[in-house]
């Protein structure tokens, strides 16, 4: 199991926050910023597992023998999209420092928070195994265990074109929501166009940039032929202090530019070094970013 009971209890006390997305169509747990009647009926929709049974319209069920959920105007839900980079570059690092493991745990935690809050959750593994790469949409805390089981069966494999994947997501998911992109962003083609399109669709995005400690501070020496885990390409390099210094400078520049790009477009950006405990990251870094409350 990705998350234990204690962690889940801690996570249930948290709520995901989206400042800009207000497109809820059905009742949710979060208070609406809109004004109007608080119990005014709005619509029905099909029951999905995990919905609050108290909102089941028993009359219609008795009449049609099909479960429907009543929706009200004054309460809204928040669509939560969890996009996880499943490229092989994510499968890097030993044990708990493995970026994919770390990313899975973050996705699990965020998904659990969202499900616990009654928000519809859609999880997509960008690249990787297409058969089991999505989950949801699902709603309600009852779905948490199923969600976690789905996550535990995932692995990082193959290549990811982040731009294309994000563009595809933006085109397919028209309902604006809070999108968490958990990725190392190590895609030579970049991710900016995809992110732009996604934001253009009204999504609020939070980029969780996952990097392993040895990517932030590589301890390599000698004459090496570096082989790209994801694309299989190689780069010969004679590592000396000058080259390592150049790497550090370019890394800092890249990180800075990435964060500036995200923030410049209203997207959140949180850097997750897998060296730090993932739960602390949730409780501190995401809270500091204002994504979790």
């Amino acid at each position: 199991m990705i998350l234990d009971e204690t962690t889940l209890r801690k996570l249930n006390a948290l709520t995901l926050v989206a400042e800009r997305v207000r497109a809820g169509r059905i009742r949710g747990d979060r208070r609406s910023s809109k004004r109007g009647a608080s119990i005014e009926f709005a619509d029905f929709r099909n029951y999905v597992p995990g919905d609050d049974l108290r909102r089941l319209d028993w009359n219609i069920y008795a009449r049609l023998d099909r479960p429907f959920i009543r929706l009200f105007e004054d309460e809204e839900d928040l669509a939560i999209y969890l996009l996880l980079d499943g490229s092989r570059s994510m499968d890097w690092g030993e044990g708990d420092e493995n970026k994919f493991v770390y990313a899975i745990r973050l996705a699990a935690a965020l998904g659990s928070i969202a499900l616990g809050g009654g928000d519809p959750v859609r999880f997509e593994l960008l690249a990787g195994d297409p058969a089991g790469s999505t989950f949801g949409p699902a709603r309600g805390g009852m779905q948490t265990m199923r969600y976690l089981e789905r996550l535990s069966g995932l692995s990082a494999a193959g290549e990811t074109a982040l731009d294309a994947a994000l563009t595809g997501f933006a085109m397919a998911r028209r309902r604006p929501g809070l999108v968490f992109l958990v990725s190392d962003l190590l895609d030579p083609q970049g991710f900016r166009d995809g992110l732009n399109r996604m934001l253009g669709r009204g999504h609020q995005a939070v980029v969780i940039h996952v990097l392993a400690p040895d990517e932030l501070d590589p301890q390599l020496t000698g004459d090496l032929k570096l082989i790209d885990r994801e694309f299989g390409t190689s780069q010969e390099v004679t590592l000396d202090p000058a080259v390592l210094g150049s790497y550090q400078r370019h890394l800092e520049t890249w990180l800075g530019e990435t964060e500036a790009f995200c923030r410049g477009r209203g997207a959140g950006y949180v850097r997750a070094a897998t060296g730090q405990p993932w739960d602390r990251f949730i409780l501190r870094e995401l809270r500091a970013e204002g994504v979790v409350r």
């Binding site: 994510m90 895609d187 990517e215 090496l224 032929k225 570096l226 694309f231 190689s234 000396d240 150049s246």
Partner: protein, 631 residues
């Protein structure tokens, strides 16, 4: 800095294959990482010189290139110009005489001369040859036609100075011969000396001569003479000492004389510049004695002068041994009277019997004089003087002649001072002079007087009857026979125990039949010598002092002693000469004005070896730490 073989620089092209091979041989360890994207970014600005980037900071390649460069420069004969005395082939004449032992330059003049010679050899031009002659006593060739500088320097370092005078005439003759061997066109003779060369009698050298002066000081006190002799009156002896100040300043010193290990005299002597002081000690016992004289500084802990070699002298007093002489003659009043004049000769006479047979006494004699007679059978053991000899086993007598051509001396030393002009001889024996015979006087082609060694004995022959000449009436008579007796009945094993000089061989005069001798030097070194061509020659007289000669079967009391002393004004006058004359040429001390190339290939090869070792160490250290490549 230049290259004597610039074509060798082409070998630098070997650097290209080394670099290429190195580029090809870089074995990079495969290492999988999450993404190369950031590394490509980091290396983007280095891609323009990517191949060279691989070589940067690569110590092994750098070391290999340094090794190649050092070896190529060695092959190209890297050299830098140095001032030199001579630019072509060099023949070095190194003074190894006693004065070169002076310590006015550190550590002494000879060592300094060797250093100068080594420097000249090292700076000799490429393609030239070097030769060196050491003038220490008889000259010796240290090396000739040598192109191997290291070997030449090694041979120079092994040279040792002598303790006596140098035979400069022989050294110059040898140098001239070597110079012709080296090639007259391009050979320079370099004389490294403190001067003291004879002004005359030196052969000319076939090439320019440079003179390098060694030494700075001229201050020197010396015992210039020490001699002991028995007085003619008998029963007493006297000792003569002369101390000389060869310096330019007044000097005082303590003179000490020791006789047989006991102090005889000790006092201060004061000598003005250039002055000599003499001391005579008479009334000494006429028994065998050893005298040792020494000069010391008044301040005993300071050296007296730069040349200690002449501050000591040695003398031997040895009363002449008594020799027994048997005169076999029909009667020769002249000879009998003459023999009485030699106090150390105890003469006896015998005459032939009535049957004409000669009956020699049973006792043996040191010297037998046969006057017109020869005994039948074997000749007795002992030295022989044959006067008017008939046929005998030693040489062929063909007859006699009355046709006497003018009598004349030869150049033999024993015939000197014998004036034959007034001498008239009526008849002489015609003798075929044997190979061992050295003529002292001749009459035309006929030997008149000759001497020699044969069968382990000394033989002198006078080829005419004294009664049939007027020689006994001439002054030449006692002089000639005194010389012959000195030859036939020597004073002892060492004819004169006080004339030996360092480096000069000493001829021993053992009794007939003695073929070996054991000689103990002043430092206790034992020398065993064997007779060659009937002579016992001792040559190892390098060190001044007493030498003890022991013949086979002799006791300590019977040993003979002789002394070796420097006693050379030329060597004791140590002030270095700024000018020397060789024939008609006057030479000044040379200053380097030519330019020679000093090659560095030896150092370059050493450098290459050193870097090779470093490269080996670096290579193995890298192999020993593969874990460094890990994260």
């Amino acid at each position: 800095m230049n290259f004597l073989n610039p074509l060798g620089l082409w070998f630098l092209l070997f650097a290209l294959p080394i670099v290429l091979l190195y580029l090809l041989k870089i074995r990079r360890k495969d290492y999988e990482i999450s993404s190369t994207m950031l590394w490509r970014m980091a290396l983007r600005d280095k891609q323009a010189n990517a191949p060279w980037q691989k070589l940067r900071r690569n110590l092994l390649l750098l070391l290999q290139l340094v090794i190649l460069s050092a070896l190529v420069f060695a092959v190209a004969r890297l050299a830098f110009p140095v001032p030199a005395i001579a630019s072509g082939s060099i023949v070095l004449l190194i003074d190894g005489s006693a004065s070169m032992r002076a310590q006015d330059v550190s550590p002494d003049r000879f060592t300094r001369a060797i250093e100068i010679a080594a420097e000249l050899v090292r700076s000799a031009g490429s393609g030239t040859t070097t030769a060196a002659i050491l003038a220490a006593g008889p000259p010796s060739v240290l090396f000739s036609g040598e192109t191997d500088r290291s070997r030449a320097v090694g041979l120079l370092a092994a040279a040792e100075p002598g303790a006596g005078e140098a035979d400069w005439a022989a050294a110059f003759s040898l140098a001239a011969g070597l110079g012709r061997q080296e090639g007259v066109e391009d050979v320079t003779f370099v004389l490294i000396s403190d001067g003291g060369l004879p002004e005359e009698g030196l052969p000319s050298l076939p090439g320019p001569v440079e003179y390098v002066s060694v030494g700075t000081a001229g201050d020197n006190l010396a015992i210039s003479a020490l001699a002991a002799r028995p007085l003619p009156a008998g029963g007493a002896a006297e000792l003569f000492v002369r101390v000389s100040n060869y310096g330019d300043a007044e000097r005082s010193a303590r003179l000490t004389i020791i006789r047989n290990g006991e102090p005889l005299f000790s006092d201060l002597v004061h000598l003005r510049a250039g002055e000599s002081g003499t001391f005579v000690f008479d009334g000494l016992p006429a028994e065998a004695s050893r005298f040792e004289a020494g000069l010391e500084n008044i301040q005993a802990d300071l050296p007296l002068d730069p040349l200690p070699l002449d501050d000591s002298a040695y003398a031997v007093l040895s009363p002449p041994p008594v020799r027994s002489v048997l005169l076999v003659s029909q009667g020769n009043l002249f000879l009998e009277r003459l023999l009485l004049l030699f106090p150390n000769l105890i003469a006896s006479r015998t005459v032939p019997g009535e049957d004409g047979e000669i009956h020699l006494p049973a006792a043996s004699f040191d010297l037998y004089i046969f006057d017109g007679l020869i005994p039948g059978g074997e000749l007795p053991d002992g030295q022989l003087l044959l006067i008017d000899p008939p046929e005998n086993p030693l040489f062929v007598v063909t007859g006699s002649t009355e046709e006497i051509e003018p009598l004349a001396s030869t150049a033999h030393p024993l015939g000197q001072f014998v004036d034959w002009d007034p001498v008239n001889v009526y008849e002489i024996r015609t003798i075929e002079r044997p190979a061992w015979g050295e003529p002292l006087a001749v009459s035309g082609e006929h030997p008149l007087v000759f001497i020699g060694r044969t069968g382990g004995r000394r033989v002198a022959v006078v080829a005419f009857d004294l009664h049939r000449s007027d020689l006994p009436l001439q002054i030449a008579f006692p002089i000639l026979f005194a010389n012959l007796f000195a030859f036939l009945a020597p004073q002892g094993i060492v004819p004169d125990p006080n004339i030996a000089r360092p480096g000069v061989s000493v001829a021993l005069e053992p009794p007939p039949g003695t073929l070996t001798a054991e000689i103990t030097g002043p430092d206790g070194t034992l020398h065993n010598i064997t007779a060659e061509a009937g002579e016992l020659l001792f040559t190892d007289t390098a060190r001044p002092g007493f030498y003890t000669v022991r013949l086979p079967g002799q006791t300590d009391a019977e040993t003979a002693v002789f002394a070796v002393n420097l006693f050379s004004e030329a060597e004791s006058r140590i002030a270095p000469a700024g000018l020397i004359r060789i024939g008609e040429t006057t030479l000044e001390t040379t200053r380097p004005d030519s330019v020679s190339n000093r090659e560095l290939w030896g150092w370059l090869v050493l450098l290459a070896l050193a870097f090779l070792m470093v490269e080996w160490l670096v290579y193995h250290r890298r192999l020993g730490k593969p874990e460094e490549i890990k994260i």
